[in-house]
Subunit: 343 residues, 2 copies
């Protein structure tokens, strides 16, 4: 059973359902959902239809959940949250959603969570504009918080998201093994927003530097873990589980952890794997099938599982600075949930 994240965790996984983990912040999550579904309505019925489509097409709301849980877990006496915490959760989901809509244009993706993307259902043009509209709404929320530290943090996130994608685009089909570059890209693309969401609530709560730094690190490590699992699932999951074709990253020349572990071997396996990439065989169904097989059978998947677990552990360790509570328990279990997810 090596090579799957859930090995030996069958009992734990049973309890790891996201709604149960977010139960301590159910009321706050409902406020976030109301905001997303109604407060974004424009005078144009067409725009309203578009936004409804974007938000109703699912999404696990992990990021707003993390904002609310870290906020309550670090609040004085675990007290109730202010409207500003809700806005923080909303803007975190808005940024995430906006970046997905633009990512789908950039990747020419037809499916997201098994549903047609905005670019496929309507057009690239409209998807660019819908993403812009969501980023605009996020900016309004951010500015409403009137907190210079949080403005700086989310400003960095917005820059990181773009810079991360630009870096990735600039390195397509490049086969040198650069773990630092891979981690920096994972921080830019994913962990930066996780980190912002996890330590901005404590900042609003007026927590001390130690708690703020620990929550920042919790979010960064969890975000890196999340991205590694994402990269892993692109290799191990079925197309049905992913809601899009498997092996899509490598087919686009994006070299992630399971591929890096093969490439760094510098042996015959690594050479033939590198040839599949360099000669663009991975852009064809037979080539990508061969590459997936190598990553699965030659330890690429297994070592990636271990790497994800390492970041999960680092993330959990940071929670020790919080007083015990149901909120802290959920933050701990969410790490396992994200580690063991299959989509």
């Amino acid at each position: 059973m090596t090579g799957t994240l859930s090995s030996g965790h069958s009992e734990t996984t049973k309890a790891l359902e996201l709604p149960a983990l977010l139960e301590p912040v159910t009321a706050e999550m409902q406020l976030v959902e109301q905001w997303l579904q109604s407060n974004l309505v424009d005078d144009s019925a067409f725009v309203a239809t578009l936004l409804t489509q974007v938000f109703q097409s699912g999404g696990k709301r992990i990021r707003p959940g993390l904002v609310l849980l870290t906020s309550r877990a670090s609040a004085p006496g675990f007290g109730e949250l202010s409207p500003r915490h809700i806005i923080l959760a909303v803007l975190t989901e808005l940024i995430h959603t906006a970046s997905l809509v633009h990512d789908d244009v950039i990747d020419r993706a037809a499916l997201r969570r098994g549903q047609e993307t905005v670019n496929r259902k309507w057009s690239d043009k409209l998807a660019v504009l819908v993403g812009d509209l969501l980023f605009a709404q996020a900016s309004i929320c951010l500015a409403r918080l009137m907190n210079p530290a949080i403005v700086g943090i989310y400003g960095q996130v917005l820059g990181d998201l773009c810079a991360g994608e630009i870096k990735q685009m600039n390195q397509q089909f490049a086969c040198q093994v650069d773990w630092d570059g891979y981690l920096r890209k994972s921080v830019c693309k994913t962990a930066s927003l996780f980190s912002a969401g996890c330590h901005s609530g404590p900042i609003l709560n007026g927590c001390g530097d130690e708690v703020v730094a620990a929550m920042k690190s919790y979010g960064t490590n969890l975000g890196i873990c999340f991205q590694i699992v994402d990269d892993l699932l692109d290799v191990t999951a079925t197309s049905e589980e992913l809601g899009k074709p498997a092996g899509g990253d490598l087919a686009q020349g994006i070299i992630t952890a399971p591929a890096l572990f093969i490439l760094e071997r510098k042996d015959e396996v690594a050479s033939s794997f590198e040839r599949l990439i360099k000669e663009r065989a991975v852009c064809q169904p037979e080539g990508i099938a061969e590459a997936l097989q190598i990553m699965k059978s030659q330890g690429g998947v297994e070592q990636t599982v271990k790497l994800a677990r390492d970041y999960a552990k680092k993330s959990k360790d940071e929670l020790r600075c919080l007083k015990p509570s149901q909120f802290r328990d959920s933050l701990e279990s969410i790490v396992d949930y994200l580690l063991l997810r299959t989509r």
Copy 2:
């Protein structure tokens, strides 16, 4: 000489050079330029190259100029401006530039100001990301101002820009004469940002409601005038003057003032003009040449010139509430400059 905006203005135009009009705020404009050229630099050399290309490819900096002139014209004793006014000017140009970069993706434009667009030189993907990065920088600037009123104003601008484009896209090749719709679209696409730029400085200055409202109206009317002239130039200017093919709006099914004046005649000329649009003849070189000829020879251009002059006059009239100064003089002359421009 009817049908050209500059008829009877040859002496005036001679003095209407933009650098001369912005001379009263030269020092402040230099600070804005420094900000745009250096404060946006990212850790990635490639991103820095991209941004430099975007900002060095010209642009007249009309919007930051208007921000600075309205700010000084309304400042107590015409006093010097604060760093916040500079940030306001920068963010106004950032939003404008970001929207141009995304517009070029949406319109599949190859040229802008006679230079290759980001989408043409690199790719649509990269242009989406560069636009996002510029919007992100604008959001950071906006939040730094820490002024809830201005945040609301620019939040509306960001929403308007997207909603305006979405509306336009949703009405392509629609031939019903809807002047209200045309004006609303012009406000969303252009006048909303002009208006924001012109009355936010007075708000920072703590001006009274009367001055703030007048500057808002000055900006709105000037913005509508600017958009009408833009629509006019698409019909009257040469491809060399435009830096892109003439007649591009109608070829894309975008119905602007010169076309609306023909369509509203409801006579034989209107019918054959409408057929050119409905049957998509305007998407071909011969069809667009015929449509341009009709707009020029049948009064579409002439009436549009008159419409632009009406908005220019409304704009100038609002300046009466300001005390006389070189800044007010420039604001008045800029109206003529934008009315009489040929590109």
